[in-house]
Assembly symmetry: C2
Homo-oligomer: 441 residues x 2
């Protein structure tokens, strides 16, 4: 099988975009009026608004509220075709990538394969912790949280019960902070209304952070504000602590101290997607592919690398791995390709505009740093709300998210408290459970 | 571990309800003001509105729109406790059931464990077809349908492509008819907007029915109307055909004829849940537990069996396995228990009120039989709409369903076209894919 588009001879140039995350999707959208034939490849059939994944994991939003089918998003772009597949190799000389369904050739390549969780070479951590990097992980985490509460309600051994009700979140970046705060809100509601036999203080939520306070990229005052907000919600903030190991009953800190927890959530950083290793260049920090200021590979001006996969030169340090960098670099690559095709112009350098960073710490509370402005508490929360409503992709999803939020806000309820998922191995399971006497004509 | 409630001595009688489907939930709700201590056990943490499962499978509704956490539904019933667990055995003499978490004792038992798909002792069918009996199966089917379209768009071999785009639905009851019609609507929309390279007539949807027309329980005129509606949507209706085998490339009919299809959906009937076999009585039709007219086991007046699990005497034949029978029998059992506790009254016989049956056959079209009234086309659809909006459990779910329907109706769109699910074996997968060079500090 092969989805190789027709060769360029006589036709429009073929642009291949690998990845339909923030960077790849921005690139595809920016080329929708360009005289090119775009192929967008992703291993999932949907684009995920990753800043909301923690709300899926804490049972506030459904998958369709944070993810849209890629085919819906490119509907109005007649020159963009989507292929569901995993790119396994990049051959720069042949101008061709290999996928699990066959090869795809290109004239221009935009690599936007994103990042994966960074486990720092520790297999125990990778296999025993839960992540929050894609929809599958968010749903797995939701099922795990709810299952722990159900199991705890059966447990008669106090130690077992305590362990089931302990949740450790490793990593005090925006994802860890937002998830820990949302988990505290979920827990407060569930204990009060769903599990009358449980007490709130039986549930332990610990946020482990290596630095002296969470949210290292924020201003000092906002970091203090966020820490206070977390503690007010009953989240234990363990700063200056490094996790050395994760096992089936919890984790170990570098001083040897144990934190027993049935659930360990690992959000301690990301590293470029493994595809970077197939590009054939020496990788830079966080396993990223180094590019010049025009986002291209030095020896291959037809290859752009954008988003989390790229180490993009910034002022002093390389640019951080953030959604905003991904969106802006993806668009820039697309504009560069369009300009090059239209009039052979050399592409200009990429300039990142920092639009600000923010993190929600529960109902009515968020910290936000937008240019010279530093907001916290209710003002920060309003800013967070406004920006995130505007950024949600798709009109219907936006309406649905707003309704879920209003309902969640008014009733403090979490409608998606479902332990569920497709029966992955359904047929096998059925095969095992079937006996000749199991059925009736 | 054990969740055995305190013994009855001195306290309120303990009522154990096994199953939180239509029957079990109706029983629990009917006892919320009774002087009893109710324990409700189910293997899922949610109650499913099964008539909408086909809408999850066809990407119109999300799980939270057809399923509600059981704990939410019993919140206002202070005397009902929920336990997530699987009941594996019933010990009538000891008045105790065994679960995967330990035993639960009872004074009154309401068995409402429901039904499972009937594969007629055929392991090939059980293992190679997809079901539509619970949320996990509906999500698996949704993923399968969408994946077939994605794979077909890569396929260069015409035979492979045709097979991927062929869907066989076995069973012409309301579930099969509603699913086939909804699939045809989904396909029409996807082909038009998401897969410009595919043609509608490349996609084959076959509904296989053993009788001379689908919807055997409906009046002749309505059956003809439904068949016409299905055919108008491009569904091939194969009546009078019996499936003898299902394999990886399709199915075989009793005349030896083959239908090649990558997806075979098995909705050809149900049989009582395997728990029936542990009750220790001779089972009746469809593997059901026979009860008397008061819904009790003959030798155990403290044990009620209701819903699909019970063979309940009707006028001439036993009552059918329908949601309405389940709801009414569940409530009756609860009222009987309450009456018996309050004043020792003997319970009266159960009388089933047939409120009518209906099946939707796509946008603007349904057949409905309500008492002497037979509706089809738009009138039938309005009746279907009204009844199903009223029956959806929970205010928020109802609002959400209505919004999804309006949006789906206006834009003919299916927002939940996501191939996704929790990473069941995520940790193992990660372990396999991890190599020492896979990560970056």
């Amino acid at each position: 099988m092969s989805a190789t588009p027709a060769p360029a001879a006589g036709g429009e140039p073929r642009v291949l975009i690998v990845g339909a995350g923030f960077a790849g999707l921005a690139a595809a959208k920016a080329m929708r009026r360009s005289p090119v034939q775009v192929t967008l490849v992703d291993q999932h059939n949907h684009h995920v608004f990753t800043p909301f994944l923690y709300q899926v994991a804490t049972a506030l939003l459904e998958p369709s509220e944070v993810a849209q089918p890629v085919r819906s998003l490119i509907r109005r772009s007649g020159n963009v075709a989507f292929c569901l597949g995993t790119v396994t190799d990049v051959d720069l000389l042949a101008k061709r990538v290999q996928t699990d369904h066959g090869p795809i050739c290109y004239d221009y390549l935009v690599l936007a394969a994103g990042s994966v969780s960074n486990y720092f070479h520790n297999t125990d951590i990778a296999t025993r912790s839960l992540g929050l990097k894609d929809l599958a992980e968010a749903l797995q985490l939701r099922n795990q949280i709810l299952s722990c509460f159900e199991q705890a309600s059966w447990a008669t051994d106090p130690a077992e019960r305590a362990q089931l009700l302990s949740f450790a979140v490793v990593g005090g970046g925006p994802t860890g902070v937002e998830f820990a705060a949302a988990l505290a809100v979920l827990v407060a509601g569930m204990v009060k209304r769903d599990f009358p036999a449980l007490e709130r203080d039986e549930v332990k939520i610990v946020l482990v952070e290596g630095a002296d306070a969470p949210l290292g990229s924020f201003a000092e005052s906002l970091r203090a504000s966020a820490t206070r907000a977390l503690r007010a919600k009953g989240v234990e903030v363990r700063s200056g602590a490094t996790v050395t190991d994760v096992d089936d009953s919890g984790l170990t800190l570098d001083g040897g101290e144990r934190i027993d927890a049935a659930t360990v959530v690992w959000v301690a950083g990301v590293t470029a997607a493994p595809l970077a290793k197939t590009v054939g260049v020496t990788l830079a920090s966080h396993g990223r592919v180094p590019v010049d200021r025009t986002l291209r590979l030095v020896d291959h001006p037809e290859v752009f690398v954008v988003g989390d996969l790229a180490e993009i030169p910034g002022g002093k340090d390389p640019l951080p791995m953030l959604a905003q960098v991904a969106i802006q670099s993806g668009s820039h690559a697309a504009r560069s390709i369009t300009a090059h095709i239209s009039d052979g112009r050399q592409t200009g350098p990429f300039h990142y505009r920092n639009l600000g960073t923010m993190a929600s710490v529960g109902r009515n509370d968020a910290v936000a740093e937008i240019g010279p402005f530093r907001l916290s508490g209710f003002a920060g929360w309003l800013a967070w709300l406004l920006v995130h409503i505007m950024r949600t992709v798709g009109l219907q999803a936006r309406a649905s998210v707003v309704i879920s939020w209003i309902s969640g806000y008014l009733f403090a309820d979490r409608p998606v408290r479902l332990i569920t998922g497709p029966r992955e191995s359904g047929r096998d399971e059925r095969r095992r459970s079937m006996s000749p006497t199991n059925e009736e004509d």
